[in-house]
Subunit: 134 residues, 6 copies
Amino acid sequence: MSANFPQREMCTIGETRFVEMVFPEQANHYGTLYGGNALALLGKSAFVTASRYARCAVVMAGSERIVFEKPVRVGQLLEITGRVVRVGRCSMTVEVAGIAESLPDGARTPVLSGQFDMVAVDGDGCPVPIRPAR
Amino acid sequence: MSANFPQREMCTIGETRFVEMVFPEQANHYGTLYGGNALALLGKSAFVTASRYARCAVVMAGSERIVFEKPVRVGQLLEITGRVVRVGRCSMTVEVAGIAESLPDGARTPVLSGQFDMVAVDGDGCPVPIRPAR
Amino acid sequence: MSANFPQREMCTIGETRFVEMVFPEQANHYGTLYGGNALALLGKSAFVTASRYARCAVVMAGSERIVFEKPVRVGQLLEITGRVVRVGRCSMTVEVAGIAESLPDGARTPVLSGQFDMVAVDGDGCPVPIRPAR
Amino acid sequence: MSANFPQREMCTIGETRFVEMVFPEQANHYGTLYGGNALALLGKSAFVTASRYARCAVVMAGSERIVFEKPVRVGQLLEITGRVVRVGRCSMTVEVAGIAESLPDGARTPVLSGQFDMVAVDGDGCPVPIRPAR
Amino acid sequence: MSANFPQREMCTIGETRFVEMVFPEQANHYGTLYGGNALALLGKSAFVTASRYARCAVVMAGSERIVFEKPVRVGQLLEITGRVVRVGRCSMTVEVAGIAESLPDGARTPVLSGQFDMVAVDGDGCPVPIRPAR
Amino acid sequence: MSANFPQREMCTIGETRFVEMVFPEQANHYGTLYGGNALALLGKSAFVTASRYARCAVVMAGSERIVFEKPVRVGQLLEITGRVVRVGRCSMTVEVAGIAESLPDGARTPVLSGQFDMVAVDGDGCPVPIRPAR
């Protein structure tokens, strides 16, 4: 077992994870994941993580500093994990982190991170209290 | 803790998981996930799972019976898990299963399943042996 | 007239055909049509063929064995034909076959095939009888 | 056999045909096929038809008058036929016509038409003579 | 200040402008903007320009001659300007022009042009008078 | 002339602007622009603005606080303006702001804002000095 392999992936409550292969259609013309697509992937993770935690519709209120530490290359795997790190009355903060994984050796490198503020809303888009986790 | 909630998600070697929110753009005009998009999601899971297991390029050789048990509705979460269930010299079988999760109550329903044959290839697309998992 | 040219294309009832050019955005990073996109094209053919035959809404119930015989290269044409091969009370089987066509010489090679089970449904997604072909 | 059903579809040399189901994702917010997407479908037909005729790379030089006669509704089938109607030394004119087909009764209505000028090019994008049809 | 730089961009009433970077996913396999995507960008410009002028829903009735003067290369910027050039009772003509801009030297080259007929419609898709510009 | 109409739009050096119509395919199932797509639009503006200013390839290093002040509804226009507000040796800060415009009355509401750090790079992705604006 390679030391780099994520041998056991345990997702606790309020955590979601997905793995994407970076395809040419997501890249700019330098062969790396285009920033606009990276932002969309981070936002998707925040959205799914918050929806799953609050068990209702959510909208994005904003993000704190997002860091693109290293470029992600076409052909790498990108694992994105979202985690609820703060729960307020109607809002949550979701921390999202991206790790690039090279296929040949499984080497894993942190590449993206950010925090997103998500608000639980009703059908009219008005904030609603987040029910305590059961 | 709801009995339906996936309290701990453990991915073992050769398993990958991702969660998507079903959006209107992925639906047909009846408000359910369109079959073509469902197939693409299953295929993506098989592709990422096999690539991560074999640590090299892979191509799809085909699929065994795919079953769409129940429609997946817009606004549901869809969790898709791929798992390597057979490893041959140059090929693998990946079993993919999809579970729909309703936001309000977290109820989880199996909705999709299939098996895909994936082949490890070199840069010219020729089959190469799959290295034993370390 | 090249022997390879599809001199007359006759579509009988319950058959539909479309031709796509394989573009880089549909390819993986090895320059061939990505399996997930190929599945989506097969599914689209099954969907359109069944809808046109049953003259009502249809959903996909599943697929039998799908075979990806050969890779399809960027820049090739891909002709996909769907054909209703079995009609039951509320369901149909659609056979889908894909042929890659090289531009320079028009050489045609079978590359994809599969069978899909499609169900005629009403507005609530409940199965309805397929009306006999007129 | 309904009088409206396209009983036999014969494509002669230099003709290609495809059928699409109009999905919500291709529509504007009035529930009809968005003009930009309709243009893209017409252009795709011209591109595939010309490529298949000339058996080489082609680029679009322009279009003559394009007419959107009637809106195409979500849930209708759209059959698009491209036909080479003029062949010059290095260029061709492709006539493209779209017919909307309603599922319930198979009624077919001409909805789109246009003419596109396509030029055969080599790898550097320079015009090359179109070889006579064999 | 380079002579080629668009030093002041003034948009008058009934004019809209947008700038895109041409990405590989919009290109054909010769590395230039694919005609179908170019048509879609021109159509989008006509749609937004007409909507903004008429302050109501609009649909495309057709286009006059569209000219693709030069190929647009991956990595170039493409600036597209739409301008209302004729206003009738219920319809408008929008002139759309595209200029490619090279990054290294800012050289600007006209590459695309066309005219689109747009019709103001109500919620049922029926033509409605265009209110005089205030 | 409505008080709300952007009578003259002057783009100075280092500023780019584009207008989009929010389509159903960009919305979540509550009928408002989905956060992930909003992030992608902001990122695209930062990317194009920085590329045009630096006249070379750029990559995104990160973003400062992004604020989604109000939801953007399907059928609204969204005008996004990017402006270079800081230029360092190899990096720039681009401020991006989005204004939603209602079609019926042209009312304009600030809805999105953010700051992005962009780095000028050479073909290998290494930072290069930004040449002074000419």
